[in-house]
């Protein structure tokens, strides 16, 4: 008689995680780890912060396993936990970056300029944005979250989220216009 081998559903898998079954925990971490690190890398300025946020988020995901419901995609559910965890951690940390520190940091171009002459990219834009604006910008345009979802995840009003997006886009436009004017000047010389 053929034996029945049925792969575990995500609900069963997370139930096993909730029961602290080591195999299930490791499976979930291997499955989600890369995606979670991608998210924290987009939401955090520094690589070290992104690594810490990824670790904290994965811990939160395992500890919240009993809250996983069948109507949700495991990946999407884990993303939301990651976003909340990362945003809360960033609110608690003290901001050490100052303008002086930015000027003294090696390989950092001063604000608004591109010493290397290369076209300005997203990194330059992210440097100009406050953490809150960067996150709203990334959550909407990189990760596809709606305004309402961002408002709920970041615990801010909808109007504030929209304002941050508008301001971020305005910064982008200003950056591109300055870059274009600089190119024109170089071309004219």
């Amino acid at each position: 008689m053929a034996l029945s081998q049925k792969p575990r559903t995500d609900v069963e898998l997370m139930a096993a995680v909730a029961a602290r079954e080591p195999a299930a925990q490791r499976e979930v971490l291997n499955r989600l780890g890369g995606r979670i690190r991608k998210l924290t890398g987009l939401l955090c300025r520094e690589r070290a912060d992104a690594d810490d946020a990824a670790q904290a988020s994965l811990i939160a995901i395992l500890k919240s396993a009993d809250g996983f419901r069948v109507a949700t995609s495991l990946e999407r559910w884990a993303e939301r936990i990651t976003i909340r965890t990362t945003l809360r951690a960033s609110r608690r940390e003290k901001t050490r970056r100052t303008l002086l520190e930015r000027w003294l940091t090696p390989n950092r171009a001063p604000w608004g300029e591109n010493a290397g002459g290369e076209p300005l990219g997203l990194e330059a834009l992210f440097e100009r944005l406050s953490p809150e604006r960067r996150r709203a910008f990334v959550l909407h345009h990189a990760l596809g979250y709606t305004i309402d979802e961002i408002a709920e995840l970041s615990e801010t009003p909808v109007g504030t989220v929209k304002d941050r997006l508008v301001t971020a886009r305005r910064e982008l436009r200003t950056m591109l216009e300055r870059d274009a004017r600089r190119d024109d000047r170089r071309g004219a010389k």
């Binding site: 049925k6 990824a54 395992l62 009993d66 886009r169 982008l172 274009a180």
Partner: protein, 517 residues
């Protein structure tokens, strides 16, 4: 960058939905404007960055597992034996429930290895093996609901069960937890006896009624069986039930995985998932037959509250019997009859009492790890009656404050509901007029421009200090509805009445665009 394209791009970047024509116009802007093209390329780059995965930093998985404290697995070794090597981390595959005689390697996050060393006798060069009795599995009552009989001191939270102990039910249910990873639940009018708690061979005898077992994959060489009248049903990482309605008959029902049924001089039969095997005294075993979901559901229901005792930090919740027919549900699990005793996770738990008439009362209780919380439903019911008598309609000011709290938390729907309740409860109050503007803005945010227009028009019918905001909101609503001519007229009205208004610069730009059409 043209003004028109800039306006479209700003709206799109702010998360506003554009019409198909506007979206086409926005994308076409890149063909004629280099700056627009660069901006669109950057947004496309950003969108691409949101896809895919990053490399996981070395050691992150182990750090996380160490932080959450995965349960260690103990490996008992004999002389000369080596500990099993840790299996490779599986790629993105789902684990498979064990079936048959296949040994499933378990990847241990932190495996503790207990090594038996032989101690040579003095003067002898030969090793002497030390024999130890097989370890026993821990078994205890984890849930008792309704009429349950167990050894007096083996109640939920009491002493563990021992070999020979019996648990029986009348109109009730009970569950045993057997470590590691075995739950045995019995239905009404059932009785089980613990035959063996040897960790390598756990056996529970079903005297009568229905017993269901759910278990995680067994260690190599470790088995679990439900027995009845000389028949053994041995599991291999499964969910299965043994139903013994009368002494002469026995049904084995398998929901997941497979079980081996043997005994009564009959050869072993492997019964797969979603199947039933009937064993009758005198006539032996029939063939395994498929069973439907409806019948499976009857057995699954016995496991309904299993999540309650799954965590390590547990307290005991006891809910006393009260009026007949009263049921209790903990953390929205299935309702169970009273009295109720069970292990539940420590922390705040929701407790729902349901009467025969269908009334439901939900309350929160705090369970402390390692302690027993006793709840008398009569107290909860009496407290609820008192609250109903003294409940007062909230004031307009308190409703306003509540709505603003919801707004500050980003809960637009909830805020709207409270605002509308304020207007319906206090229709002639000053607050009821003022909130029309906020309601309109919320309706715009929620993509309800027609309703928003009504709200703004209602305010503008007898305008107050928020008239400029209301008119600006009306303009947005008209634009969202595509009523361009009305939008233009409304802008002209705004600019004539409020030439230095906050929205004036933007509205002048918009008017130019509209007039240029």
């Amino acid at each position: 960058m043209s003004v028109r394209w800039n306006e479209l791009q700003t709206r799109w970047a702010a998360g506003e939905a554009l019409t198909p024509e506007e979206e086409r116009e926005r994308l076409d802007g890149a063909h004629t404007d280099e700056l627009a093209a660069r901006e669109l390329a950057l947004f496309e780059d950003l969108r691409a960055r949101g896809q895919g995965v990053d490399e996981v930093p070395r050691g992150l998985v182990d750090k996380v597992l160490a932080a959450v404290g995965a349960r260690p697995r103990l490996f008992l070794l004999g002389p000369g034996e080596k500990p099993p090597s840790a299996p490779r981390a599986p790629r993105l595959r789902r684990a498979v429930l064990a079936a048959g005689a296949i040994a499933v390697p378990i990847a241990a996050a932190a495996a503790t290895v207990l090594l038996l060393r032989t101690h040579p006798e003095p003067g002898s060069g030969d090793a002497v093996a030390i024999l130890t009795p097989a370890p026993l599995a821990r078994s205890e009552l984890v849930l008792a609901s309704g009429e349950v009989t167990a050894p007096g001191d083996a109640r939920v939270g009491g002493r563990p069960l021992a070999t020979g102990d019996s648990v029986s039910t009348g109109d009730g249910r009970a569950c045993l937890g057997i470590d590691p990873g075995i739950d045995v639940c019995i239905g009404g009018r059932s009785q089980i006896v613990i035959e063996s708690l040897r960790a390598d061979s756990v056996r529970i005898r079903v005297e009568r009624g229905t017993a269901l077992a759910a278990l995680s994959p067994r260690e190599v060489g470790h088995t679990f069986a439900l027995t009845a009248d000389g028949v053994a049903v041995t599991a291999h990482g499964t969910v299965f039930a043994v139903d013994r309605p009368v002494a002469e008959s026995l049904d084995v029902v398998v929901m997941e995985g497979a079980v081996q049924v043997s005994g009564n001089a009959a050869p072993g039969t492997l019964v797969p998932a979603h199947s039933r095997l009937a064993v009758r005294r005198g006539s032996g075993q029939g063939p395994a037959e498929a069973i439907g979901r409806g019948e499976e559901a009857r057995f699954w229901a016995l496991l309904a509250a299993r999540g309650l005792w799954a965590k390590p930090e547990l307290g005991v919740l006891e809910v006393r019997a009260a009026e007949p027919g009263l049921e209790v549900a903990v953390d929205r699990e299935a309702p169970l009859t009273l009295p109720f005793h069970a292990f539940v996770p420590a922390g705040r738990r929701s407790l729902s009492l349901r009467t025969l008439a269908g009334d439901e009362l939900t309350s929160s209780v705090d369970v402390v790890a390692g302690e027993t919380l006793v709840v008398d439903p009569r107290e909860l019911l009496a407290r609820r009656a008192l609250i109903d008598e003294t409940a007062a309609v909230p004031s307009a000011a308190s409703l306003l404050a509540r709505a603003r709290n919801e707004l500050a938390s980003g809960n637009a729907h909830a805020a709207l509901t409270v605002y509308e309740r304020l207007r319906s409860t206090y229709p002639t109050s000053p607050e009821a007029r003022t909130v029309l503007v906020t309601i309109g803005k919320l309706e715009l945010d929620l993509k309800q421009p027609a309703r928003a227009l009504k709200s703004f028009d209602a305010y503008l019918a007898a305008p107050g200090p928020l008239a400029p905001e209301a008119l600006a909101g009306k303009i947005r609503a008209l634009r969202a509805l595509g009523r361009t001519a009305d939008e233009r007229r409304a802008i002209e009205t705004y600019l004539s009445r409020h030439p230095d208004g906050f929205e004036s610069p933007l509205l002048r730009q918009r008017l130019e665009v509209l007039q240029g059409r």
